[in-house]
């Protein structure tokens, strides 16, 4: 996987400074300030009411669940959860029903947290505040973009959907770190139940503040804000492009203007969105229609109690299992013991929310390396189905494989069926497929034939060249057309060697 790859190349003598602002849509039933459904894929303007349409006389009432999800995010990001207020951010725009946005300003609910990247690098989180989303505008015209459109159409289904905006400190120095931050944050948002983290669908939107400075400079350079980053990959590419652009500009004697820039995935460039002529003056003031939210210790504790393990803790838990910490793991000789491979497998399993499958299987006696490998390599190919999979049938399947009743190849086929069906009896499925486990007798016989056919290899194996076991395993597999269990073959070889 390429999750930690990409970019990070900055011209010698320059330092890149990155801060990220992430808007995440909360998974509530209703909008932030009204009882309309938080479902904006519906028919246009079908989930609207006087409040989210900004009709005269309407008033907002705060959604408790949204507040609690914001607190959950704050807890997961080690923030201080504080008494908070709402302000109005005043600006005219047709997708903004009231022509002001209700947002938290100088008293946000979460402040001063942090997020540790998997490599241990700590990024400070300045704040994570609640605010409302806007409606959605579509532009009529050839480009589908705002420029060149003849007119636009507004759908207010998304108007008032709850958002949490998470603002990092400008602590990141490479696109690699920015990507790791976005990836880890996304995993945290999903794990906390606050968001589905779907960047492509806009439920998690990342803006990057990027500046460069000479390595010797003490102060930050002028930053540009990059919008329209709808994948972690775009984020990395955009930051690298923007860093090169700024360095080139400065090296040729130019200056960086503070701008909002738009990432164009097609051209691989950032472009300026608007000239600076109209400076916005948001005239923030306290929203008189809402009252402060003051979470007490009890409420905070109740929210914290609902939080499951965060990705970092879940990765640590798998590392622990693999190191045999609970006695259920240990090296069973299947894997090659490659630490890097394991780290990747663990990251994949946790990112996809499949680690409970691994933990459950290990608790039931399945070797940890097998459980991790099947989950990261096979179950992960259809993570959505795997998350729905009945854990006991997964355990049953891996137990059949571990005991040698099913070969690896057979187990993978049966797993495919389990994922499709959402569960089932793996023994039955195997039987239907005709995957009869080889009897112990016929295994002994076949192994004996393989040994007899390769006397040189056998001699060297007996002298301690363990990896030659694979020669015999291969012959047995070929002879049985994959029906034999590799581990059972190795066990028989070891028995024969004495």
């Amino acid at each position: 996987m390429d999750r930690y790859q990409g970019g990070g190349v900055v011209t010698e003598g320059w330092e890149l400074v990155i801060g990220l602002e992430v808007h995440c849509e909360l998974r509530t039933e209703t909008k932030l300030f009204c009882g309309c459904r938080n479902l904006f894929g519906d028919e246009p303007n079908s989930n609207v009411c006087p409040v989210c349409l900004g009709l005269p006389g309407s008033l907002p009432v705060l959604n408790q669940r949204a507040v609690e999800l914001a607190m959950a995010i704050g807890t997961a990001l080690h923030c201080d959860i504080r008494p908070s207020t709402f302000h109005r951010k005043n600006y005219f725009y047709p997708d903004q029903a009231k022509d002001y946005q209700i947002s938290q300003y100088d008293e946000p609910i979460n402040v001063d947290g942090w997020l540790d990247l998997p490599d241990g690098f700590r990024v400070r989180v300045e704040r994570a505040h609640l605010e409302e989303d806007t409606g959605k505008t579509t532009h009529a015209g050839a480009s589908g973009r705002i420029h060149g459109a003849d007119y636009s159409l507004v759908d207010y289904n998304r108007s008032g959907v709850p958002l949490v905006e998470i603002v990092s400190a400008p602590d990141m120095r490479t696109a690699v770190q920015a990507r790791a931050y976005a990836t880890e944050l996304r995993a945290i948002l999903i794990a906390s139940g606050a968001s589905d983290g779907k960047m492509e669908e806009g439920s998690m939107r990342v803006d990057a503040n990027v500046s460069v400075r000479r390595s010797t400079d003490a102060t930050f350079g002028t930053r540009c804000e990059i919008k329209n980053l709808n994948s972690v990959r775009s984020l990395g590419r955009a930051i690298d492009y923007e860093a090169q652009r700024q360095v080139a500009l400065l090296e040729s004697g130019g200056v960086v203007e503070q701008q909002t820039r738009h990432w164009d995935e097609g051209t691989g460039r950032t472009e300026t969105l608007r000239s600076k002529e109209e400076a916005y003056d948001y005239r923030y003031f306290r929203e008189p229609d809402l009252v402060p939210v003051v979470p007490d210790a009890e409420w905070k504790a109740a929210v914290a109690d609902t939080l499951g393990l965060m990705p970092a803790q879940r990765r640590a838990r798998l590392v622990e299992l693999l190191s045999g910490g609970n006695g259920a793991g240990g090296n069973d000789g299947d894997g090659d013991g490659d630490g890097e491979l394991r780290v990747d497998q663990i990251a994949t399993v946790v990112d996809l929310g499949l680690d409970d499958l691994v933990v459950g299987a290990v608790a039931a006696g399945v070797p940890a390396t097998l459980a991790l490998a099947r989950t990261a390599n096979e179950a992960a190919t259809d993570a959505e189905a795997a998350r729905r999979l009945d854990g006991s049938s997964y355990v049953a399947l891996l137990t059949l494989e571990a005991s040698g009743s099913l070969s690896a190849t057979q187990a993978k086929v049966v797993l495919g069926d389990l994922l499709l069906a959402g569960g089932g009896d793996p023994a039955m499925l195997a039987k239907e497929k005709g995957f009869e486990a080889m009897s112990a007798d016929s295994l002994v016989e076949t192994v004996g034939q393989a040994v007899a056919a390769e006397p040189d290899a056998w001699a060297r194996y007996c002298d301690g060249e363990d990896k030659l076991a694979q020669v015999f395993v291969g012959k047995v597999m070929k002879a049985t057309r994959g029906q034999a269990n590799g581990k059972a073959v190795v066990a028989e070889l070891q028995r024969l060697r004495g």
Binding site: G35, N45, I146, D155
Partner: protein
């Protein structure tokens, strides 16, 4: 602490009119500059006070934690909503060309 902002100028009025999406004729600019000046002069009694030790009051009644359960409620009938709109297309509110992205 107690400095009083300068008298509102014609340019100030033109600026706030732009912020508020109002168009003023030259005569209106003059008229409003004068009238707002008088009102703000009256407000000098407030603007010139030293109130550093006084907390602001945004709400007269101190209430906190007014929350609603996350339970869906029926919204408005779409036809009724769109019937009120000046211009509609494809069940959406139609607006003229938008010149720039949202801030």
């Amino acid at each position: 602490m107690t400095e009083h902002p300068g008298r509102i100028t014609r340019e100030d009025v033109a600026h706030v009119a732009r912020l508020a999406r109002l168009r003023l004729t030259d005569d209106e600019l003059d008229l409003y500059t004068g009238q707002l000046g008088v009102i703000l002069d009256h407000a000098a009694d407030v603007a010139s006070l030293d109130l550093d030790g006084v907390a602001p009051t945004a709400h007269a009644m101190a209430v906190t934690n007014v929350l609603r359960s996350d339970t869906p409620r029926p919204g408005l009938d779409r036809d009724e909503v769109l019937a009120a709109a000046p211009e509609v297309e494809q069940h959406r509110f139609r607006v003229p060309r938008i010149l720039g992205e949202a801030p």
